[in-house]
């Protein structure tokens, strides 16, 4: 207290923001995981600048939903799964948690796949890179306090700057990019609709929504912090969009121009080498490792929060192993299982990844509907209950996501 009053008002504002900052930034940026970067790369390589507006639309939805998630967390002091159990009953809670766990295991496997692929770009075997990453992530979360873990997250996030640098190096056509952002057009083909839906799906990840809420609870943010938290959410979501933008632009300026088709982000990095110089490949690979590591830390954490929340057991990064065994067990289980899946020779990785994507898509819709229900529950939200304008916005997002997911499922199953 004493030191606070010695600072100038401006410094107080900055210090207050730094204290609140976290949930929005980390949850937003971790949505740019290897699957996300792959989707953006394919979007740029196949359609150039044309579909940039899809990215912008996803980003706007991300802002709205993360803002809602963080607010629910702060006001109710409960995680999403716990609230679903409380409001919608034991079955809804368990089903949501079960689907989330399965989807998270799959997504976590995808993160390790990203690390393995990026490692191979630097000539590193996956039998080294994946276990090292799994150990590093576990050590970080299990052995350190909340504030240390958060600081490391921020540092890892800085790796995303690599994509922005790569974007400038590629020398894109800024005019065409602006047109792609502002004018929504789409070639009416199955592939185009699929990639547009995948972009929405990869940005609005269920585990991200569950995470931001639990994290705000764990960080013990209060209603006082809501204004600053909004700044944090906007910053996080905007940065997520900006990074996605640069990935798309990089691929549009190089791969699309040359008509090169790619399958994943590692492909993109390799293909970039002759087009934008050696450094572009390294930057892309470096960015990929950073985003995979961040997401690989968040995913088991998000799962652990959700499981603890469902069962009503303690879940906090500042608790120790003895105080919160279930929390840490879940964390370890998810990490070990996913790392093992990647390392087993001949494991059906493609199947796992496709099923995961479908599961995430199916899960997103009920989660959004539950969130909507919670947001307008006055007994839970009190003075922060959703206004009719906000409710309309939520419903529009739910409708758009619903249509997109239906299209995606249609194409996946057909």
């Amino acid at each position: 207290m004493a030191s606070k009053s010695m600072m100038s008002p401006k410094k107080i504002r900055i210090a207050a923001f730094l204290a609140v900052m976290g949930p929005g930034l980390i949850a937003g940026l971790s949505d740019n995981d290897p699957a996300g970067i792959t989707t953006y790369s394919v979007l740029g390589a196949d359609y150039g600048y044309q579909l940039l507006w899809v990215l912008v639309a996803s980003m706007l939805a991300l802002i709205v939903l993360h803002d809602l998630g963080a607010r629910i967390g702060v006001v109710t002091r409960q995680g999403m799964i716990g609230l679903i159990r409380q409001k919608y009953g034991a079955r809804s809670g368990t089903l949501s948690a079960g689907a989330l766990i399965l989807a998270n295991i799959g997504t976590m496997t995808a993160e390790f796949a990203g690390i393995a692929a990026a490692g191979q770009l630097f000539g590193l075997s996956k039998y080294i890179s994946v276990p090292v990453a799994a150990l590093a992530v576990s050590f970080l979360v299990l052995r350190n306090s909340f504030s240390t873990v958060e600081k490391v997250f921020f540092i890892v996030s800085a790796g995303f700057i690599a994509y922005i640098i790569a974007g400038f190096m590629a020398g894109p056509d800024w005019g065409a990019a602006a047109k792609g952002v502002l004018i929504p057009t789409i070639p009416f083909t199955q592939e185009a609709i699929f990639i547009a839906t995948a972009t929405i799906g990869t940005t609005l990840a269920p585990w991200g929504l569950a995470f931001i809420q639990s994290y705000a609870v764990d960080k013990r943010l209060t209603k006082d912090d809501l204004k600053l938290l909004r700044v944090d959410v906007w910053t996080g979501s905007l940065l997520t969009g900006v990074i996605g933008f640069f990935v798309v632009v990089t691929c549009a300026a190089t791969l699309h121009k040359q008509g090169i088709h790619i399958n994943d982000a590692a492909d993109a990095a390799k293909a970039l080498e002759p087009l934008a110089g050696t450094m572009a490949k390294e930057l892309f690979a470096f960015g990929l490792i950073g985003c995979a590591l961040l997401a690989a830390s968040i995913l088991p954490l998000s799962t652990a929060y959700s499981v603890s929340d469902l069962t009503g057991r303690p879940a906090a990064l500042d608790d120790n192993l003895k105080e919160a065994p279930l929390f840490y067990f879940t964390f370890g289980f998810i990490t070990v299982l996913s790392a093992t899946l990647i390392l087993i020779p001949g494991a059906p990785l493609i199947t796992i990844l496709v099923v995961t994507q479908v599961l995430n898509a199916i899960l997103l819709l009920p989660l959004l509907i539950y969130m909507y229900g919670i947001s307008k529950d006055e007994r839970l939200m009190g003075e922060f209950v959703a206004t009719s304008t906000m409710k309309t916005i939520y419903l529009i997002i739910i409708a758009v996501v619903g249509v997109a997911i239906s299209c995606m499922l249609w194409f996946t199953i057909i």
Binding site: M1, A2, R85, A90, T94, D224, G312
Partner: protein, 445 residues
């Protein structure tokens, strides 16, 4: 049982383990438990066996009873939900509820003061396990006949009980009494018009250390949290609030009525209370002052205005002032009267004009003859005193130089206006965050 000097969590636990008057200790009750989760959806029948509808929820009334009695049923009749008075229940088993009459008035249910719905408000919600000192979720609730009424007697927090509810049908609905916590050991903080509370749980909460209680409060959600604060003894609640972090505390006060806030802040140490009030916005602070006793408000207003980096801003204005002509006996009586306060380590002695003469430690008083005058005990070492406007760093220097546990703050006329205790300095110096473990045990000097 001998009471240990510090009441720890263990003593609370022992208190309950050794008890024999808990409902679940009785075999007859253990054998007649009905699971609430299993009961929802079961038929409610008239005397003759004709079905009225399906059970939607069970309403209980909270009073002074440890085990809240069932006051009514909410039953789905056709498409609408109706209320049936609890007095009509003849028999309640795991598979059906039978009424004592062949005809009932079906009325629309409206929430009443002091009642809550077991399924909507309590099941799956957060409750405080007073015994284990933690916030948990209830997986199931158990009803049983007790004292001629059907009452809530236990709660199951086990994962097993939760899991079996997910499966369809009556799969393993039977309660396992050893996993059930007696309702008397639980502080359930149901939403709605009433707070679920029992004397037992209230008493048990009263045994907790303020720091542990503060942790519990911080773990709870908004509504539940306010409910817990409401059910606590104000004195204890105030102690717990002192242990909370500033930001938490401010958030909490916004959720409470100005009246309750005023009641709690008045009971806090004045310097702590002033610190909280200082951080609130002007309107909120004023609304709390309005609800306070005028003299308390006046004293706190003065403290709030002091700069936090000056002695006046960190001191506590609560101290025991005695006159040099007073006797040792009267000084000791004064100390006993204020024994609940942390500051009862001695008395401040002033002369006829109210100017500071000395601070006499309690040990000196005990060693002296009761009839002796305080003036006879005065002498070096004299207490360190500082001005209201002495800067914080100078206060620290004074502490460092004198190695005392307190410093007396005087006004320009050398009249004592407050004291700075070592823990006030700790509070002033500790950074605003990460003070959780730090603040524990303050005042125990």
């Amino acid at each position: 049982m001998k009471t240990p000097p510090v009441k720890s969590i263990n003593t609370v636990a022992k208190r309950f383990v050794g008890r024999s008057d808990l409902a679940l200790q009785r075999k007859s009750i253990r054998e007649s438990l009905v699971s609430l989760a299993g009961l929802i959806g079961k038929p409610v029948r008239y005397q003759g066996g004709k079905e009225i509808g399906r059970l939607v929820d069970v309403v209980v009334r909270h009073g002074e009873d440890s085990y809240p009695p069932v006051s009514g049923l909410i039953v789905k009749v056709g498409q609408s939900k109706s209320f049936i008075d609890g007095a009509r229940i003849a028999k309640l088993t795991q598979n059906e509820i039978q009424l004592s009459t062949a005809k009932v008035d079906l009325t629309e249910f409206t929430r009443r003061e002091g009642e809550s719905l077991l399924d909507a408000d309590v099941l799956d919600h957060q409750i405080v396990d007073v015994n284990g000192l933690r916030v948990v979720r209830s997986s199931d609730l158990y009803l049983a006949p007790l004292d001629r009424e059907i009452r809530v007697v236990g709660v199951d927090i086990s994962f097993k009980a939760f899991i079996r509810r997910i499966f369809p049908g009556a799969l393993g609905r039977g309660p396992v009494p050893k996993h059930v916590i007696d309702w008397a050991n639980v502080a359930s903080l149901a939403h709605g018009t009433g707070v679920v509370k029992s004397n037992e749980s209230r008493a048990a909460l009263g045994q907790l250390r303020p720091a542990d209680l503060a942790d519990l409060i911080e773990d709870l959600a908004g509504r539940e949290r306010n409910a817990l604060i409401e059910m606590l003894d104000p004195e204890l609640a105030a102690d717990a609030l002192e242990e909370m972090e500033d930001e938490e505390l401010q958030g909490l006060l916004r959720g409470l009525s100005a009246q309750r806030s005023a009641e709690l802040i008045s009971r806090m140490e004045p310097d702590e209370g002033a610190e909280v009030l200082r951080d609130l916005d002007d309107d909120h602070r004023e609304s709390i002052f309005m609800e306070m006793d005028i003299s308390v408000a006046k004293q706190l207003r003065k403290l709030v205005e002091f700069d936090e980096t000056l002695a006046g801003g960190i001191m506590t204005s609560h101290m025991l002032i005695t006159h040099e002509d007073d006797t040792v006996a009267s000084a000791l009586a004064l100390l006993v009267e204020h024994k609940s306060r942390d500051i009862s380590d001695g008395v401040v002695v002033v002369d006829a004009k109210g100017k500071l003469l000395d601070h006499i430690q309690i040990i000196e008083l005990i060693a002296a003859k009761p009839a002796a005058k305080l003036s006879s005990l005065m002498g070096p070492p004299y207490p360190t005193s500082v001005n209201l406007n002495t800067r914080l760093d100078e206060v620290i220097d004074e502490f460092a130089n004198n190695r005392g546990s307190s410093i007396i703050v005087v006004d320009e006329k050398n009249k004592p206006v407050g004291r700075i205790l070592a823990d006030d300095l700790v509070d002033a110096l500790a950074p605003t965050s990460d003070t959780q473990g730090f603040a524990q045990g303050s005042g125990a000097l």
